[in-house]
Symmetry: none
């Protein structure tokens, strides 16, 4: 993310004016706003700096390029969304996760996520960051539950849990990215109900 991790910044700080937290926030918020409004391609650092009322060099001092900036803005937008807790059986939790996703995808954040994936097709580190900061953290719990269900004999154990998650989320992502059909909680249920039988042990 930013050049200095938070810990070192607090404990040992050299002389000189400290980084303006206000500027940082303004830049990231403006980035998110413009990202939703104009998309990744038309988002210029020039316009971020102008709208955030910040010097252009201040942006470049902390983020090496547009991708890094957008990435951090994206992470900021997405991290607050992680605080949830589902309870119940493995199947109930995953089904609940999937439903929640379809709802998140329909907020402005959905536009940000598809913009990030889109930009990632040109910028590999963008994609890497998306997987690292978004996909993986969200799969942790589901993966654990799937493994437990495999041990319990509730689902087939000859398939990689991540592949199962690809099967469940792939159709949702497809609609997010291709816009050829609506993305609804009902679709999440349908996908889940169709895929599950195939996961039962024979």
């Amino acid at each position: 993310m930013s050049k200095n991790g938070e810990i070192t910044e607090v404990l040992t700080r050299g002389p000189g004016r400290p980084r303006s937290e206000e500027a940082r926030r303004a830049i990231l918020e403006t980035t998110l706003e413009l990202l939703q409004k104009t998309g990744f391609n038309d988002l210029s650092i020039e316009s971020v700096a102008a709208q955030a009322e910040v010097g252009k060099a201040t942006v470049y001092r902390w983020w090496p390029n547009k991708a890094a900036l957008v990435m951090e803005a994206f992470v900021l937008a997405v991290e607050s969304e992680l605080k949830y807790a589902s309870t119940g059986s493995a199947e109930a939790v995953i089904r609940d996760q999937m439903r929640r996703w379809t709802k998140v995808f329909r907020t402005p954040l959905g536009k940000v996520i598809s913009a990030v994936i889109g930009a990632g097709q040109s910028e590999p580190e963008m994609l890497e960051a998306f997987r690292h900061y978004y996909v993986q953290p969200r799969r942790v719990e589901a993966r654990k539950l799937l493994r437990e269900a495999m041990l319990n004999g509730e689902i087939r154990s000859d398939i990689d849990p991540d592949t199962i998650l690809d099967l469940l989320y792939g159709p949702l992502y497809l609609r997010l990215l291709l816009h050829h059909a609506e993305l609804t909680p009902e679709l999440a249920d349908l996908v889940f109900d169709i895929v599950m039988p195939g996961l039962k042990p024979r």
Copy 2:
């Protein structure tokens, strides 16, 4: 695509020097080449014109912007790939289609397709073109087979055939776009085998 459809161009042509087919081909081929090499973002019309040894104005005369140009180049690249024929049962044909896809996605064309979808997140008409020129033509046969299978009672008839195709192809697209795992014919088989049971009539 181009301003004049081919038919009217042949039958009734006004005065004036006709469009140079050579220039058109050079531009589209160069576009494809650069698209694979540098991606959508770094592809500049300036460089296309230079490498195709064509005036920049000639590009702008026929394509209003980069998206339109890339779109037509994409269609050109993709249309020759449509000529195939699978035979057998509905399930056999669809399984075969899916396997073939995973192979196409690994050629340079795969890079073009993901670039198009990526760019489409910023440019709606790009996405529209992708759906219209790529997705739909390829789904025609599968959709027909699925409908027949529904009538025969081989698969559930309470699901939209396109949604079924989303279920089958979504996981493949996910790997194409997120690059988090490999895209293999075996994956196609696995997806097919897991999804199919859920489609059987209860």
Copy 3:
């Protein structure tokens, strides 16, 4: 001027469609019109062709460049103005010529003439044409009269007649080109009256 002199064109003509006199006239008239309206720099052959409803190639077929075209338009505009006749003594005739000039300079033709001289600062052949088609023909009579007056002892004979004409017309041209003061027949008289004493034999 045009590639083929008029005589050969009439006497020996090859096969093929003859040159369109209508197009020629339309081009030259449009040129004059645009020359007065927009000046030499902003006059484009593209716009001449468009406004004259003529193919661009037709312009280039007969005139090698903008300068040549403007030159011929200028000559056309100016040649009708040559038909006059002054009578009387040398001094009376020259004074009359000078007065007439100041009047011509104030018509739209004056704008054309100053545009031609202006353009001539960049294009030598333009200047050459101006001198050949405008200045020289108009000086013929005055020069003859001056020489006679020298022989008669009315004016000094130790000065080149053309230098005398420079003395008389220089101040007028200066006002035409610098626009720092008005160009009036009275000025012509004043210049004449001041210069003449210095031309009397001592």
Copy 4:
């Protein structure tokens, strides 16, 4: 000239990187050089920027168009030439000025001046600048001397001093612009000698 007058620029300067004096000089010098080499029409801002090793935007930041740029270059070239001093009677001083002019007109600066007047036929503000920055400053002294000579009864007082200067310099400008005869100090003397008798009180 430039957007900020020099005085305010020194006294009160806003924030931001200050204008590069080096770039300014390089641009103006390159402009002068190209103006003499290629004339006004063929001088492109693109080539000025390239040869001055300066971004094109830097030129456009400070000069709105080619005319403004050439004008300031012209003023720069001409202002150093003003520092001279003639002494003696009114007639001696003016004669001396005229001779000096014919010499200046034959240096590369002469080419610049005729280019400026030529361009001025299309661009009024160019002409305005020429009169304001070149003609007027140079006429100040001569005008003063002429007025004194009128009061002393040495020359007619019924003629506007500027008209007298038109009479003296008109013939010189005519040769500068029409190139039909050489521009020599002897011509300056001849013009002076012929015009003066007509200026004596009757």
